[in-house]
Amino acid sequence: MKKIGYLLSSVIILLVILFIILHEIKGDYYRLSVEEAYTITQNERILIRYDALDSINPEPLIIYLSENPVENSISAKNYKNLMAKPAELLNLKYRKIYRHTGNLVLWSDNPGLSAGAWVILNRKGYKNIKILGDPENETFKYSFQPDSLAGLK
C-alpha cells in the first residue's frame, strides 16, 4: 500500500513537471495582462532614434522584422542584429536569445509591425524593448488652415 502511494504521487509530480516543461517550450501564454501592457505604453518612452542607440547599455540587439528579410537591408550594421519574419518572432530559438540579451530594439520598414511586436513581447514579459524610429513622426507635422467661408457654404 505504501509503495503504491509513493508510486502514485511520484507519477503525479512527474506529470506536473512534464506539463510545465512543455508549457515553457511552447511559450504560448502571456505574463502581462492587456491592462498592464497598456499602462507601460503610457509611461515609457518607446521610440529611440538611430543616433541614440549608442547610449543604450549594454549594447542592444536590433531585431529587424520583415516578411522578406534581406541581409543588405540592415543599416544598423554596427550593432548585434537579428532578422526575423514576424511569424517567427516567438520561436524558441529567438526567445532564448531575447532572454540572454539585456536590451532589444525592434525595427521594421513597417512601423506598425514594430509597434504590434512591442506590445506582444512586453506582454510576454520581455523588458527594456525600444522601437527604432523618429518620435517626430508621432507628432502632427502639418497645420490645418480653416476655410473662413466654409460656414457660409
Partner: protein, 202 residues
C-alpha cells in the same frame, strides 16, 4: 518516511511550482501570443485613399476613431470620426464602440505607433473589427490634403484617384472649418447617434 509525510512534501512541491510558474494572463476568448504574432502581418490596415473613399461615401460600415487628445481632435479630424483618446482606450465607457460587430473601426493618431499599439492591445482583449489607418493623420495630410492638379494629362484611373482625394479634402476642410460651437454640437450628436445604433454608452 511514511506516506503522509511523503504526500505532504509532494503537495508542498506542487504549491511551490504553482507560485513559480507564471500565470496565464489570457482568457479563453482572447488570442494567444502565437495567434497574435500571426495576425501582425495580416495587412487589414487601410490606406488613406481607401479611407478617403469611405469619407466621401459616408460609408456607415466604417467608423473612424481618433486616438489623439481632445484638443488635437477639435483642431481637425477626419470627417465622421469620434474621439477616444489613447489615454482612455480601455475605459469601460468606450467598450461599446471598440468591441462590436456592426462596423469596422479605423483607428488613427498622428503617426503609426499609437494606433498600432492600440490595435494589438484591443486584439489582445479579443475585440474584433478594428483596423488602422496606415500612416495616420500625417499620411492623410501628405496624400489627401496636399493633393493638387498640376495640369498634366491624367489617365482615367489617375483622374479617379485625384477626384477621390479632392472631394475628401474639400469635405475635411469644410467640416473642420466650422466654428468650434457648431463642431462640438456636431460631434456630440455623432457620439449619441453611434451609441444609439451600436447599443454603446454615451
Amino acid at each position: 518516511m511514511n506516506t503522509r509525510v511523503f504526500l505532504s512534501l509532494n503537495l508542498a512541491a506542487l504549491a511551490i511550482l504553482l507560485v513559480v510558474v507564471p500565470a496565464n494572463k489570457s482568457k479563453k476568448d482572447q488570442p494567444t501570443p502565437v495567434q497574435q504574432v500571426n495576425q501582425l502581418n495580416s495587412n487589414n490596415n487601410i490606406n488613406v485613399d481607401l479611407a478617403a473613399r469611405y469619407v466621401n461615401d459616408s460609408d456607415s460600415g466604417f467608423q473612424f476613431i481618433d486616438l489623439r487628445t481632445p484638443d488635437e481632435f477639435l483642431v481637425c479630424n477626419i470627417p465622421g470620426s469620434i474621439n477616444i483618446p489613447y489615454e482612455q482606450l480601455l475605459d469601460i465607457k468606450w467598450q461599446g464602440y471598440l468591441n462590436q460587430t456592426n462596423k469596422i473601426n479605423i483607428l488613427y493618431a498622428n503617426g503609426d505607433l499609437k494606433s498600432n499599439m492600440a490595435l494589438t492591445l484591443l486584439n489582445g482583449k479579443g475585440y474584433k473589427n478594428n483596423s488602422v489607418l496606415n500612416g495616420g493623420l500625417n499620411e492623410w495630410f501628405a496624400v489627401v490634403m496636399n493633393t493638387e492638379f498640376t495640369g498634366g494629362r491624367l489617365t482615367a484611373r489617375e483622374n479617379a484617384v485625384y477626384e477621390n482625394r479632392r472631394k475628401a479634402k474639400n469635405l475635411f476642410t469644410e467640416i473642420n472649418s466650422l466654428p468650434d460651437s457648431l463642431k462640438t454640437t456636431f460631434l456630440e450628436a455623432k457620439i449619441i447617434e453611434e451609441a444609439e445604433l451600436d447599443g454603446g454608452c454615451e
